[in-house]
């Protein structure tokens, strides 16, 4: 049977109240006594019982605020599903989630919502946001106010976020390069359609891809790299223009959204049989294009797990089951027609 606060109290010859004070490093305890109690607790291998803790502080629910740039971006549906599952499982433990969704990557929108988060004084905060200085400053302010901050899906360069849960974008790119190498014998003539040159994740996917090809000693040439700005119309036009100009392109590497547009250009030009197309993530549009056989591989990052794990880990931390705090890098998942869901 596990050690309880009672056991420690008896062993130390003090009351449970005192033990509680010591364990929470609250003051108002004689130093001698505190030391002795702590020593006994350590020695007996005390770990507080979660059920007991939860029940005791049930009137003050644990409030967690989330922020996602998810409006209009179906990728985040799965992250939210993960949030919701964690919330359901933790609802008996008094956890309440507030999810704020904003549209895309507008700096001011992010700053404004982060201000709101700060004002709400959450116990914990879980965000996907922009990795730029003003945002970092705003985040750090929240952290300093006593709220635990964690990042999901996209990390920010802040010493104050407790941990990150998300993919390794570089590895995703490298994995794409490995697959291309396996399924093509001839020279690879690649068109890269990226989302934005300003998005670190997109850039990392390109870097991993290129460096992977180089490590393989692959015979490749990048014909062009264009931005879709995550927009189908732009994706369509730029892809089409490139394909028309370069008859010999045999691979399209799509690092972000705009997939539907790019693939439509391929179809309109009747080139789908002479092209290997790589994309990222498993959203309705990529899924159906994979099933159609237009996209060969789509490389995924366990978005639901990201949401779920981020909240679970945050909860665990807030209940101070102090395990070592490490980032969680989700797996790089290769999906083809056969192993994509449904």
């Amino acid at each position: 049977m596990a050690v309880t606060i009672r056991d420690i109290a008896k062993e130390a010859g003090v009351s449970r109240g005192t033990v509680d004070r010591v364990l929470h490093k609250r003051k108002g305890v004689n130093e001698e006594v505190a030391k002795r109690v702590q020593a006994i607790a350590d020695e007996m291998g005390f770990t507080p019982n979660l059920a007991g803790k939860v029940l005791a502080r049930r009137k003050q629910p644990l409030r967690i605020g989330c922020l996602l740039p998810s409006i209009g971006n179906p990728f985040f549906d799965d992250v939210i599903a993960g949030f919701r599952q964690a919330e359901r499982e933790l609802s008996d433990f008094g956890v309440i989630l507030d999810i704020t969704q904003i549209k895309s990557f507008d700096l001011n929108a992010h700053l404004k919502e982060i201000k709101h988060l700060e004002a709400k004084h959450y116990d914990g905060v879980c965000v996907t946001t922009l990795d730029v200085q003003p945002v970092i400053d705003a985040i750090d302010r929240i952290a300093e106010s006593g709220t635990t901050v964690v990042t999901v899906n996209t990390d920010i360069d802040s010493s104050h976020r407790l941990f990150y849960v998300g993919p390794d974008y570089y590895l995703e790119g490298k994995t794409a390069s490995g697959l291309l190498q396996l399924c093509s014998k001839t020279q690879k003539r690649v068109l890269i359609v990226t989302g934005s040159f300003n998005m670190k994740g997109h850039q990392e996917r390109i870097r991993g891809f290129i460096e992977g090809l180089q490590e393989h000693g692959a015979d490749y040439v990048v014909i062009d790299t264009v931005e879709s700005l995550d927009d189908d119309t732009i994706g369509y036009e730029r892809t089409r223009a490139c394909l028309e100009q370069h008859e010999d392109i045999n691979c399209i590497y799509l690092t972000a959204a705009g997939v539907q547009g790019a693939c439509q250009a391929v179809k309109d030009l009747g080139r789908q049989d002479s092209l290997r197309i790589f994309s990222f993530d498993d959203v309705p549009i990529t899924r159906s294009l994979v099933k159609e056989g237009v996209i060969t591989f789509t490389i995924c990052q366990q978005p639901k797990r990201q949401g779920y794990d981020a909240i679970q880990k945050l909860f665990t931390h807030l209940m101070n089951q102090q395990d070592p705090i490490v980032d969680t890098i989700t797996q790089t998942i290769i999906k083809i027609r056969e192993n994509i869901e449904e």
Copy 2:
């Protein structure tokens, strides 16, 4: 704030004890009263609080017995890791796991250990065992004695197991066929090295593979299908014999263990560059062969998740948070050199 037993009691004008009796369908309650209380509970949307339950029944820990044919089979290390993680997370809730490991697939060993499981009268039991009639009967006996039985990794054809957590072996095979199709242009001349014709999982992997090739309209021929009996020496000899006899084999499909032996034969004959090798699972030997570039793809099934989810779901059920009971089919994960761990 969530509805509690107290709320119901007050609303119904009875004591908490009575409400508890009704909710547990224990007798000793006037039928009229029972009906009314139940109606009120339903109406108010009562769901019992996990923390409260756990704490109340803390003197009788929840005992779960596990059985795995894992001795000498590193695959199960991850399943066990999943068990252990779940056990750690649930230890505050009074969960205790007993893991029994046996060597391989000897019928009598399985029967003997299942007898032991029965004698222990666990609250729940989680097994990987043989899908044959004597075992099924033994399992059903446990289930009828009031213990909840679930299967992990390999299902059994028993109406009494509550749910199954594990892979879809057929889909794994199909995924392999899809990959082969993608990375080979010429006629596929395949050697199948399976574990045992008696193992349903291995057979399903073959069936999925073949049917997948057929659906693709692939140009293929299965040169031979041999058993390794999960043994490296046998795997070596039979693979070598086949390869020597058939110079034109260009693909080896390894459905089970014996991988090291088979690959050694390939190496000894200097054929690794002219062969695509597919294997299953991410164990030390497949992992190192993938990294070496000998195995191209290894197709995995989230073994750690299997162990973790099986215990978590079992726990949830035993605490009668009655969600709908469905099997959990783990994902089919493609690993290549780039995205395999480490």
